[in-house]
Amino acid sequence: MKNFLKLTFGEINRLVKYMILPISLVTSVIWIIVFFLISADEAMSLAPLAIFTDVALMSVVLIGAAHHLEKQEGSIKSLFMTPVSIEQILASKIISSMVMALESFVVISAALYFIHGITFNYLLMFVYVVIASCAHAGIGFILSLISFDFSSMLGYLMAYMFVFTIPSILFSFGMIAEKFEWLLFVSPAHSASVLIGSAITGDGELWKIIFALCFLTILSGVLLRFAVYPKFKRGSIRN
């Protein structure tokens, strides 16, 4: 447990040193500026997208950036030679990705409150952000592990976004009819969007929330255990 905490703090420390967390903060600051320029109602409708973007998109990009940097450095191989398990190494990386998502959630929540006086169920949002960011960390790992370098990873990410993320964003703007929403439930991004949206607005159909929770939880478990773990181990050893 002590080593796991050291790993996790080491990951977060490196997020700062490698400018990944500061860059993530800059994107949050952009959202703050946008909230300054729009009305409370508009901010309320835009807030889910702001948090969703950081959870479902930025965390994937940042996991990819961190992974490919470490791949170049060979530092993961050195970690394998310490008395820590691969599971601990992966878990620490997932937690650091959650920290980035939670940082965005905290900054945006604070901005909404101080600029427009908007509040929502923070505890619920915390739980949803943790679950959604865990699933998207898994997706980020998969995209990183199947890609040769960061550029090719961005290519895979674009393809993923085109199929899963953009339709969900279009749906949230009413550009896809509700009768087609069932199709979107194969998308982890849509499940994340449903959860984040329901936490901010306080409404949302219960079955959708339960489905999204179950889907993201099961997806996280399956991805991490059966895809990320073996690929991460094999890829790190080979490099």
């Binding site: 050291k6 490196r14 450095e73 060979g74 530092s75 050195s78 310490t82 008395p83 398990s85 094999r234």
Partner: protein, 286 residues
């Protein structure tokens, strides 16, 4: 002396390969010795090291570590071993010291970091980011990384590759001192000097097989030419004569040269490790 490692009929095949990379090799590494695995690139040296350091676990055959099945050991195994990689393995945006403190924090047993950094000449550069280190500095930092936990067994892969002669000497001295203090070293290299100067025993590795496991000195005696080459100043400048080593003390011609000529050099007909490698394996080290 007990065995640190006993390896029996070790075979390994990478998942994407059709053929075994290691084709049933057997050897042992004795506690307190420096064991060298010498071979060209792609011979299976690094794969052997990866198996012995538990990076690769789907091997066939038996490996015991101080009498215990390697497969049965958990992460506590890494408390015991230090691994020096050929390529840099550090976080480039962290300083040398930050890297060492981070890796050191995972071990129960901690070496004297200041002493290690001073010894390899990195103490004054400890607060510089690894990204700004030269290749040689990164290699030296790799060595410090391997020694962080005062390991019982040290795995070193091409440990002096990329080092200037002075720093290579320092690292070799540290390895010798480590062995003298009871440590065991498993060295993989293609560099002759490292083998000759460091190893108690060496095994030749080619295409996943092992040939001739012996002490470098014994190999030289076994495969060396038993002759003596004398260079002396003659009437027409430097002249050379070669005499058989057998009964050299009774060789009148040789003794006369010693008595009457101005000797410039005398060399026994030692064969280099590279030549011996080629004789034994039929392969080149390049």
């Amino acid at each position: 002396m007990s065995n640190a490692f006993t390896i029996e009929d070790l075979k390994y095949k990478y998942p994407d390969n059709k053929e075994d990379v290691l084709k049933g090799i057997s050897f042992d590494v004795k506690e307190g010795e420096i064991f060298g695995l010498l071979g060209p690139s792609g011979a299976g040296k690094s794969t052997t090291q990866k198996v012995l350091t538990k990076l690769l676990d789907s091997y066939r055959g038996n490996i015991s570590y101080f009498g215990r099945d390697l497969r049965s050991l958990g992460n506590e195994f890494y408390e015991d071993v230090g691994v020096g990689f050929e390529m840099p393995v550090h976080f480039a945006k962290l300083t040398g010291m930050e890297n060492m403190k981070f890796f050191s924090s995972f071990y129960k047993r901690k070496g004297d970091l200041k002493m290690l950094m001073e010894r390899v000449g990195l103490w004054e550069h400890r607060d510089i980011k690894v990204a700004d280190y030269s290749k040689g500095m990164k290699v030296r930092l790799n060595f410090v990384r391997a020694m962080l936990n005062e390991p019982k067994v040290l795995f070193l892969d091409e440990v002096t590759n990329g080092l200037d002669p002075k720093n290579a000497r320092i690292i070799k001295d540290m390895i010798s001192e480590y062995r003298a203090a009871g440590g065991t070293v498993f060295l993989t290299t293609h560099l002759m000097n490292d083998v000759e100067q460091l190893c108690d025993r060496v095994a030749f590795c080619v295409e996943g097989g092992l040939y001739e496991i012996s002490a470098p000195r014994d190999l030289k005696i076994k495969y060396g030419r038993r002759e003596l080459k004398v260079e002396y100043r003659g009437d027409k400048g430097t002249e050379t004569q070669i005499y058989p080593m057998d009964a050299i003390g009774r060789n009148k011609e040789f003794l006369e040269v010693l008595e009457t000529k101005d000797i410039e050099t005398i060399h026994s007909g030692e064969t280099s490790m590279e030549d011996i490698f080629i004789i034994v394996t039929g392969a080149s080290l390049l």
